[in-house]
Subunit: 330 residues, 2 copies
């Protein structure tokens, strides 16, 4: 099968590598000239240091050519997805599958990635891959599992594309829930970073993450997601990895901001992709659209965009008056 | 209110300290002569290094005197709970509340702590406290939340006893689910330790923990627990803290065994309390009693008690054939 990665950063390239390991022909489409040269000449990707790519994985800037594939792994940022979809449109065959793997929500509209594609590429078969997946570990072939959300018919076609003994996608029909969990956890990771910056300990972090899971479930149900999705790999699995693992930029960003709010711009520049920064704004769009209270997202928003003092924010995160565990869950 | 801690190790003493901060009279009952001397003379507990206890928290070996209280915080190990209940019986007033805070399940019978008390002290009002709570953090007054499972009537009485601005119990009616989550997570922590010992990365750990949550839910439902309990503080909250935090003895034990299976006895001795070692056996009792498959617990059992090779065990943990995310959840 022909697989092209559209927007081959570290994560997209890693998924291309998985598809190659599963026996498919892989092309990487990227804009970055230096990265392209590095892949085609040295078989290395700047986002995956120390890793050598197979020589038959080729990088290109030729979009019309890259689009001639059975599956496109769409891995540009959430903010760039609509424009990318427009660029793809003239070149797409109607059978080409598009798999969204970026974790984010459009700020202005609150649209999930597949909702953007429905608008820009109506009728095109789309799917979503999400889960507790640090790219570098998968690139180095350490074991991981993920969720692939799509119809049963697509699953029959897609399950083999990214399945290896070390990378195992599981099927879900819940396109909305899988995307929401993956996006919103980046906001929670920033909240956890804020907490971490004040050395408040691991108990507080676990309490915050647990409460955030209830918040994700609440907005998810309003959006038509299946509640049990949030107890799975793309929900609590991804949430705990991002918030308690050691490799999340969103967590580092929250921690940095918490220590010195003046450093916001510098941190954004240094960490490159901090999806949670935009997703925090997207969550405010969704809270309004679905009339759901999202106290944790709102607190992060106030710190990032309204200069709320960090300790005031943390008091809000930890001290919200609640009596029953069920108040919190539903 | 008079509060006595029965079995004042690090966790029991910490809860005594919380009750003292909430304004109550606290007595610590303990067997260990050296610890008792240390508390009464130096106001320090050997399990909580660097922390000074208030001078009016007194330790005693006089059980009949300690039992004269409004609330007993029962903090002996799961294995010692039945014998302790028998010792308490002759001295108890019928109104004395007993709060179980040990996380375990009786090996031979599969009985939860409150089920033991129902048998040994019928009619005595009992409750359960559980959650993502490392003792030392709470002792040092870092913020934390927990779940207190009891009837509504008991909640009115008990909610003030352990509530401070920094330690917040939430109410649950699910006595079974709250205990099961707290006990079983120690087995999962051992499984995570085994995984960690082989340097298989954080993605694999997140996948394992997520799958174990489905396993806890499955046996919980069979035992009459409320499924949503496992999405709360005493479920996923405690699970993620134990498996991904930095202070779990069960995790350290699993990691140690994974690196060198010969060291089992030495590790048990060195780490002192490894509740998961016994709870693994308890889970086999429950699997049989309720006819539920518990593949993760069973794998840990085989490593600990049947000398299954560590890599065989890990293959079993990671490679179980599953297709849909929902297979895994339910």
């Amino acid at each position: 099968m022909k697989v092209s990665v559209i927007g081959a950063g570290a994560w997209g390239t890693t998924l291309g590598l998985v598809a190659h390991r599963a026996g498919h022909d892989v092309t990487l489409w990227m804009r970055d000239e230096a990265a392209l040269m590095s892949v085609n000449t040295h078989h290395q990707h700047p986002g995956l240091p120390g890793l050598f790519l197979p020589h038959d994985i080729e990088a290109t800037q030729d979009l019309p050519r890259a689009v001639q594939a059975d599956l496109l792994i769409l891995s540009v940022s959430a903010a760039a997805t609509r424009d990318m979809a427009k660029l793809l449109r003239p070149h797409l065959s109607p059978e080409t599958q598009i798999m969204c793997v970026a974790k984010g929500i459009e700020v202005e509209t609150g649209a999930l990635m597949t909702q953007i594609l429905e608008e820009e590429l109506p009728g095109q078969p789309t799917s979503v891959l999400s889960g507790p997946n640090f790219a570098t570990e998968i690139a180095h072939n350490l074991p991981a599992a993920a969720v692939l959300a799509c119809s049963m018919e697509q699953w029959d076609f897609l399950q083999g594309v990214l399945s290896t003994p070390r990378f195992r996608p599981y099927h879900s029909l819940d396109i909305i829930g899988v995307q929401l969990g993956g996006a919103m956890k980046n906001v929670v990771a920033i909240a956890c970073g804020l907490l971490k910056s004040q050395d408040l300990g691991e108990n507080a972090m676990a309490a915050l993450i647990t409460r955030s899971l209830a918040e994700i479930r609440r907005i998810g149900i309003s959006m038509g997601a299946q509640p049990q999705t949030f107890s799975g790999l793309s929900g609590v699995g991804d949430l705990m990895l991002t918030c308690l693992g050691t490799k999340s930029r969103n967590l580092q960003f929250g921690e940095g901001i918490g220590k010195n709010p003046q450093l916001k711009e510098e941190l954004v520049h240094h960490l490159k992709t901090v999806e949670g920064l935009l997703t925090t704004r997207s969550m405010m769009t969704l809270a309004e659209k679905y009339h759901v209270e999202l106290p944790i997202c709102e607190t992060v928003y106030k710190v990032l965009y309204e200069n709320t003092h960090i300790m005031t924010a943390i008091e809000t995160l930890l001290m919200r008056p609640l009596k029953s565990e069920t108040d919190k869950i539903h």
